[in-house]
């Protein structure tokens, strides 16, 4: 019963994702597209929750449904909110690129272990056991995921922080230039 409900819910959510994606591709009014992309990210967050990845789901909902929708609408305030239809001769190469990317993804998918498989490297490799048993003694942080991210993968996390910091500085420079030009116009 529970497995059947799980499968039915997954099919329902994925079908809704396909419908929303097709509607986003077809609509020309960008305000509706911003609203639909919010719905798209809420749907993907639901899929992630069903797959037990609640942290990914939470990031998806906060960034996709919350921040990105507001950023889209703020952009429409500065630009136009209608999309021009692409001419036909430009659509064919775009379709080819999309089909090629999808094909590569499908080929890569065939290399992945089946969902919930017990013999993946994560399950069978002895390093998993080692982390589970010794992280608490070695680092002393109660949460194992935090220990891995902040200590064993510290350089990786440092690189991510550098990327986010650089992006923040770039945004501040762009906004600062905008307000400086406006102040000069007024004076």
């Amino acid at each position: 019963m529970s497995a059947l409900a799980f499968d039915a819910l997954n099919v329902f959510l994925l079908a809704c994702l396909v419908v929303t994606g097709l509607a986003i591709a077809r609509l020309r009014g960008l305000f509706a597209v911003a609203m639909l992309s919010g719905i798209y990210s809420l749907l993907s967050a639901s899929v992630f929750v069903l797959l037990d990845a609640v942290d990914v789901a939470f990031t998806e909902a906060a960034v996709g449904a919350g921040m990105t929708t507001v950023l889209f609408l703020a952009t429409f305030g500065l630009t136009r909110s209608r999309e021009h239809a692409a001419p036909h001769q430009k659509r064919v190469p775009a379709l080819l690129v999309a089909v090629a990317c999808g094909g590569v993804l499908l080929v890569a998918l065939s290399d992945m272990p089946p969902f919930g498989a017990a013999d993946t490297p994560v399950q069978t490799d002895p390093i998993t056991e080692r982390y589970v048993e010794t992280t608490h003694e070695e680092v002393g942080i109660p949460n194992m995921v935090t220990t891995l991210l902040a200590s064993y993968r510290g350089f990786d996390t440092l690189g991510e922080v550098v990327v986010v910091f650089t992006a923040g500085i770039a945004v501040l420079m762009l906004l600062g230039r905008c307000s400086r030009e406006r102040a000069e116009d007024e004076s």
Binding site: F12, I39, D52, A61
Partner: protein, 95 residues
Amino acid sequence: MFAAAMLAVATTMALALARALLGPTVYDRILALNVFGTKTVLFIAVAGFLFGRPEFLDIGLVYALINFIGTVAVLKLMHYGELGWIDGAGEHDDL
């Protein structure tokens, strides 16, 4: 019982999605997004009980906060036409 509740939530999600697709006005779509966010909260709560993980209830509560703040921000943008962040910040800080 939880399966019946889940069926009802899924039906409402499909109806809200249909409203977002059909429109016709901007406010229909904003309302559809807001309803869909609320249904996501319910979806996570019911799915938690349906699959024996009732601790997901806390996550649903945080989604409700995101949904509220998002809707307020969207409506504020619709009202003022911008977020007032370039040089008008602080003039009408009504949030």
